[in-house]
Amino acid sequence: MSARTPACTRTPIIVGEDIEVRYHKRSVLTVERFELCNGETHAILGPSGSGKSTLLRILGLLEKPTRGHVALDGRSVEPGDKSARMMMAAVFQNPYLFKGTVGENVAYGLALRKIPKRERADRVAAALERVGLGGTQKSSALRLSGGEAQRVALARALVLEPRILLLDEPLSYLDPLIKRRLVTDFSEILSAEGVTALYVTHDQDEAMVVADRVSIINEGHVIRSGDVDEVMTLPTTPWVADFIGMDAALHGTIVGAEEGIADITVESEYIHARTDLPVGTHVLIGIRPEDVMLFAADAELPLSSARNRLRMQVASIERMGSTDRVSLSSNGMRVAASVSRAAARELDLRPGSEVMALFKATSVRVQSAVGVPAGV
């Protein structure tokens, strides 16, 4: 269990240390150390009730932990610290707009900060423009659609030009269409603003779009933390693998290397992956199911740059929304593939049938296994 986030390469802006939160004598959150780095969007990903929102409230100075402390720019801070709180702004799952107009809502924080009226109006107009709701100042805040309301909530936070933006499941109430559009918008706005953001979500796709780094949390513990593509392709524990819909990372050994492409043995299978790690290294390997293409066992394979071509056996098929997730194995190595329902039907996939699995050497995520405890 990592229990702590990897240290920031840049200066951390918020550090939570030895945090513990107890409700009714029951521990709901234990975090040894959490670093939010300057300028990053850090997703806290976990299932419902995992303690992710609690962590956001602690780090965002909205709640006092039972034990432990939070530092902002190296200075110990508490929820009562007004100047520290003024550097942050939050958007929650439900937008909770206040009674009044859209303009009044967006101006709320500015009024608290005693910003002069004229400047307020300019900043409100600019913030609404940024979230795609320019000119709606006079509309009633309580007559908006869910998506519009959440945009107003974002504008209400962005207008304060916070150093840290706290986003607690900001999109989970919205229907899929609006959500898809807003995920992209949010992610663009966040990177354009250069703001540091803490983004709580239970949706891994959302996390992958918006975040630079991600911490996966379960039952009050941070169980995996790091760069988003590393965490999302190399699940080090069965639970994480299951949560993000992959098989657990494979263990392998680099037995040969040529021009940045390594030959790796996994069980008694043999694959190619792009890595600069030296021969002899014990490694963890992850392959996203979307990166694995399936073909009929006897089909003529297309010309492709995919270096890995394995004849594999279907172990099981699981229905996942619009796609099927196919678990495959070959010589003890297990890989999952994500295929469209139509393709699954065409290939006549069923447990026990044989298929060809293709994936590129660059699709294989490799990390040294040193320092990663096995089987946690």
Binding site: R57, G60, L62, K82, R85, M86, M88, A89, A90, F92, N94, Y96, F98, K99, G100, T101, Y108, G109, L112, R113, S140, A141, L142, R143, R156, A157, L160, L166
Partner: protein
Amino acid sequence: METLWQSVVEAGRMLVSGDLSLYGIIGLSLRVSGISIAIAMAIGVPLGYLMGSRRFVGRRLVQVLVNTGMGLPPVVAGLTVYILLSRTGPVSELWASLSGSIPPRMLFTLPAMIFAQVVISTPLVTGVTAAAIGSVPVELRLQARSLGASSWQEATLVIKEARRGVMAAVVAGFGGIISEVGAVMMVGGNIEGQTRVMTTAIVLESRKGNFGIALALGFILIGIAFVINNGLTALQYSGGRYER
């Protein structure tokens, strides 16, 4: 039947003619209940806010007191105030032992009537306000705090969000005391020109058989209740398009 009709005519005549004693009574009623409701709001709105939004030591006790107070019959409130303020009561005794002088008369004065009406209306204002505040989602308060609101600013926002309910609290409180007769009768004594208010005047005039005056006062009481309730309701629903 004829008496009743005559009374209605008499009531109309009195209202139109601007009978000074009649208007004196109305003015006194409004003054006593107006001051009382102002005091009740000053106590009840903050207390209701605390009860509706915070957990604190003794909250349960306050809750019990408020609930009891909301159901307290005015005449019992009057009796309690009467005993407290009477010449042999605890307030007089305390006064005497502290200052060594004879305490002034406290019963049958305006302050005594106001005191009784505050006792009646404060629990109403507190209880209804607490319910209104309690219905504002906790997350809205968290949202306000997360945008930089202090506890004071948070309270202002929450009360604004719950303003319909808070106004309902004021209407309930005012309606309770302007129409109440038991307590003002007991501690006010219905002294003409001094402590006679509309309700006590109605009781007295009906007993004397002067149904004209009684009815005139009754109409006015209904009229005042109508104007105030409608005015407050209109205020409650103004800006309706900004409401949930």
